[in-house]
Structures are given as C-alpha cells and as structure tokens.
Symmetry: C2
Subunit: 176 residues, 2 copies
Amino acid sequence: MSDEQLSKATETLIGALGRQSAFWGLGRMAGEMYAVLYLSPEPLSLEAIANSLQVTKGNISIAIRQLEQLGMVRRSWRMGDRRVFFEAETDFWRIAHSVLGLRQKPEFDQSFALVEESLQLLEQAEPSPERDYAKARLESLQEFYRLLDGVVEVALTVKPEELKSMVEMFNEARNK
Amino acid sequence: MSDEQLSKATETLIGALGRQSAFWGLGRMAGEMYAVLYLSPEPLSLEAIANSLQVTKGNISIAIRQLEQLGMVRRSWRMGDRRVFFEAETDFWRIAHSVLGLRQKPEFDQSFALVEESLQLLEQAEPSPERDYAKARLESLQEFYRLLDGVVEVALTVKPEELKSMVEMFNEARNK
DNA sequence: TAATACGTTTACTACGTATTAAACGTCATT
DNA sequence: AATGACGTTTAATACGTAGTAAACGTATTA
C-alpha cells in the first residue's frame, strides 16, 4: 500500500460494512470481505483477500460462498492463471433484490406459515373468550404481515429511479 | 390449560416469533415472551411468563427490558398486588416506529458516518486511479444509503392506511 | 512421476452470548 | 423486628458459532 490515506479509508469501510453485516445476521467476516472487494478496482484472489483481512484461506473459502449465494460477489478467471478471482457486485439494487428474495423472504414466509397454522389450530379449539381474543390477535398479526409483504413486493417492483422520485415527492409534500 | 388446541396454537406462535426475533437479532427469548404476552387477554406477571416458557425469573427480567425499551411491552400494576404485570403493545405500526428509530436507525447512522469518514480520508489521499475508483464506489454507496434513509423516512411518515392503499394501487397497476 | 500451487473440507479451539441458580435488596405484612 | 413475596443482579456454566491449522483432493508444471 503506497498511500496511507487510501488504506485507512479501506479499513474504515471494512469496519463499517463488518458492523452492518453482523447486525443483519450475515456475520462480520462476510461484510468485511465485501468491503475489500467493493473498493478493489480489479478482482482479487482468495489469498489476496485473506491477506488484507489477516485471516486464513479456509475462512475466506467458507464466507465467500455466502456472498456468492446472495449474489453479492462473483467469481472470475484469468487465462493462464489457475487461481479464482472474486469481484463485488456493485449494483445495490440487484443485491437488495437477491438478499430479500433469498434470505429475508423465506424467513418471512416460514413465520407467516406458522401464524396460519396457529390460526387453524384455534379454529378447532373450543369457543371461549380466550380463544376469541387469541384469534383476533392472530388475524391482526396476519394483516400486518400482508402489509409488509406488499410493501416489499412494491419496493422490488419499481425501478430505483421511480422509488427515488417517489421519496422526493413525499418529502416535498411533507415539508410545506 | 383447559383447551389443548389453544395451547398448541400458542406454542406455535411462540415458535414463530422466537424464530423471527432471533433472525432479526433480538434474541429468541424476546420474541417468545412477546408471543406469550401478545396472545394473553390480560397482563401477565413475571412469574407467569417464566412458567409458560419454562425458564427462570432472572432470565425474563433481563429480556423483558429489551422489549420495554423497544416499546413492545408495557408494565402495569394492580392495586393490592405488589407484582408487576406486563402486556404486549398490539399496535404493530407503533412498534415498527420505535424499533426502527431505536434499533435500526442508530446502527444505520453509525455506518453512514463511517462511510463519510472513509470518504474524507480519500479526499486527503494522493490522487491515483485506485483512489478515484474507491471514491466513486463510496459515493455510490452513499447515494444508496440516502435512498434507503428516504424510504424509511417516508414509510414512517405516512399513515398505515395510506401505505396500504398505495400498495394496492401499485399492485393493480402492475397486474394489467 | 514427482513436486508444486490452488481451493476445499475437517477437526479442533477460542470466544461470546444465553441461561441458570443463588444471593441480594426492597417492600409489605404480621 | 421478623418473615415472606417480589424483582434484580451476579457469578458460574452451557452452548453455539467463528476462526484456525492441517490434511486432503485436484489440477498443473517440470
């Protein structure tokens, strides 16, 4: 690293995305790796990543798979080089799509299905004030889930520019 | 428990919200406790919660604080009873507000600040292709953060009915 | 065929967090 | 004052996951 400021800047981003990634349940390592790749002008080898993060190869090998599966990182090859290179997907919109679809949505669906199951159990229960109360609560929860589902659906359908102008529209309307 | 189906339904919801809660980084316990309270027609004592989840009082005492701080649970008292009772906040809209504000937003802001810091470090760096590339990347990341921030802002500003009708509008437009 | 350079897998260790049991402080009741 | 019923705190433990080092498989080169 010739430029001190540049490497400091990289370290700072590594810290930022590591935090973020851990917070969202992806593991600190995954975010840190993404940060390294995101700032690198050209694809990096597995070993290069391991060096810049001071961890072992095996560690990277496992973590990189998560990132690949989520569409946050791609592999590439160079002719005459047996090594595998990785580069970051830089289109956050695309990343948001795949992460929501592959990670959040399944979890959401699972939960939704369980609420439905719970509701069906209540249908079979003896009518009683307790049952009726629980039933009302579950239906209310279900409605909220449906709203959330709809919001996400919309967010993934519109184009980013559309979304951006929508947001601006709202903010203008609110500020007067 | 007089009604077998009712308690099965409760257990199912406990499982669902426990999963969900752990997934979102709140800890399994917190979600399970919320589920118990959410389905209970009247406030429950600390010990009652501990019994229904088969854990110790101390455990509940700690976890309940999280839920209180996030506005997901409230304390209440009964005259002539020294015990503390807890009841679930059932307005998910309100919960969404406070969770986003108290939990997600600070984390987001922290990350945003670090990206900015990183960007400022780059300003001071020697001009070079690597620096310029990194700078472009960070600016792009910043723009995405701003968009996200705006979306959340809007989502928290509009009333739930407004949001709901917006979603419906979009879906109709999309389906023709 | 031997030797080297990879990436992956595996068994082990280290670490942080969740959970418990017990001690503690407080308040009401006797 | 003494006792008992609370909720909270604390120290110890259990548990799951993150991370390492080394073995492994495979392809490439000599």
